[in-house]
């Protein structure tokens, strides 16, 4: 327990706002798996560092034997106990764990398992060992209770879990109806949070990498503004983030600041280009052989100046040539 390393926690679960978990299990192996999942969750949600017992693994081959007694042993539940007694014992165990410092959770649970096994007589000494192994590894509080439809609810305040009876399942089902909205919100927040983390991480890039990134982003923004072309999803996301930050009066990345300052000029240049393109199209319309083509070009120009795909080969070739010509002319026009 001398390990002082920051315990690993799940960014995903945190991001999704998970503060409880329900684990329906059926059958003894599933129960063992449920204990494993409970343990993993306890760790993932900041319950305890796995380092302490990282060398130990759940023994799957003994899961059947162990699972039928482990969970009971941990909190001292016996087969004859009523539901009320079970609940009481779970609550008592939770109380102990809640009072102990985080680092002590593992040993306390382990002791509970061993202690329970020791007190249960000779028959369960081997089962007690399994209990200690499993619980030692997995750090969880599990009450088997009726096997079907058992739910496990996490209590983040105490970094512990407890199985709760079937009636809770109804709550879950009712709440499912609210899921859609809730999830949309959570997902959005989560995504936004991850993106902002990525953004912050970029600040720590080496200078040359940062400079290159700035250059690439600036150029992409300018190109998109100039040609109306798609920036690509990743760049568009970054663009939108900066736009939002700018809107909120925050400090944007340098490329965005530079682009924003020049944006108006770029838009003006584009307008001039579009105008020129229309004028060229008009000029072409004097040539009768291009008459039908002209209207297409005008439409194209009005939609942002990109060449329309066309089944007419001549038009296609012509229009490409024409747009190349305009691109070349653009710098002169903007002066």
């Amino acid at each position: 327990m001398s390990d002082t390393k920051q315990p690993w926690t799940s960014k995903l679960l945190k991001g999704l706002g998970v503060n409880q978990a329900a684990v329906p299990t059926k059958g003894p192996i599933a129960k063992a798996c449920g204990v494993a999942l409970a343990a993993a969750l306890t760790v993932a949600m900041g319950g305890a560092s796995m380092d302490v017992h990282a060398g130990e693994k759940i023994k799957k081959e003994t899961a059947h034997e162990a699972a039928s007694t482990t969970a009971y042993s941990v909190v001292g539940i016996e087969d004859g106990d009523s539901k009320f007694e079970r609940t009481g014992k779970v609550a008592a165990t939770l109380g102990q764990i809640a009072l102990s410092p985080q680092a002590g959770v593992i040993s306390l649970v382990g002791q509970a398992a061993v202690g329970s096994a020791a007190g249960a007589g000779s028959k369960s000494s081997s089962q007690g060992k399994h209990a200690a192994e499993i619980v030692g590894t997995v750090v969880g509080v599990a009450v088997a209770a009726p096997v079907f439809g058992v739910l496990m609810i996490g209590n983040q305040a105490h970094n512990t879990y407890v199985f709760i009876q079937e009636e809770q399942e109804k709550n879950v089902k009712l709440k499912m109806e609210e899921v859609g909205d809730r999830l949309a919100g959570v997902k959005e927040d989560f995504t936004q949070q991850m993106r902002l983390e990525d953004r912050a991480a970029r600040q720590n890039w080496p200078e040359d990498r940062k400079a290159y990134d700035q250059k690439v982003m600036y150029q992409a923004a300018v190109d998109a503004e100039t040609t109306g072309a798609d920036m690509g999803l990743e760049k568009q996301i970054r663009f939108d983030i900066e736009a939002k930050i700018a809107q909120e009066g925050g400090v944007t990345e340098p490329w965005f600041a530079k682009f924003s300052a020049e944006k108006e000029q770029i838009a003006q240049n584009r307008a001039i280009q579009t105008k020129q393109m229309l004028a060229d199209a008009d000029a072409l319309s004097n040539d009768k052989s291009f008459e039908s083509v002209t209207s297409k070009i005008q439409l194209s120009a009005a939609e942002g100046g990109s060449a329309l795909p066309s089944s007419n080969k001549n038009f296609s070739t012509f229009s490409q040539d024409a747009s190349k010509k305009h691109v070349k002319q653009a710098p002169e026009l903007s002066r």
Binding site: W8, S10, K11, L12, L13, L16, G17, V18, N19, Q20, A21, A22, V23, P24, T25, K26, G27, P28, I29, A30, K31, C33, G34, A36, L37, A39, A40, L41, V43, A44, M50, A54, K57, I58, K60, M152, E169, N171, V172, K173, K175, M176, E178, V179, G180, R182, L183, V186, K187
Partner: protein
Amino acid sequence: MTIELHMNALGSYALGLGMNDKVPVCLLLSHDSVSVGGEAAISAEYYQLEGSDLRISGPNGVVVLKEIEQACIDAVEAQLPLVVIDPATEREVLVTRLEDPSSDIYRE
């Protein structure tokens, strides 16, 4: 490409629901909460529901959980993501539902 298939019969895995104030927000699986295929699960890319079976696919194989609970099916239908965690190796992965079955590349 040979795709390893890990079948977990009913009763040999634990699939949970992650909730925020009693509202489910994701499905939950840990590396060791399946009898077989933990390694495939922790590196999965997407999942699908086939009848009442959950099929979790990725480059390290396919994990099938037979006959998942109705509450979990509801979660799948609500498009909740699946979070697979492995605290022992400090890994975690967000697995989303594959909408178009024909784009499943991990199928023979």
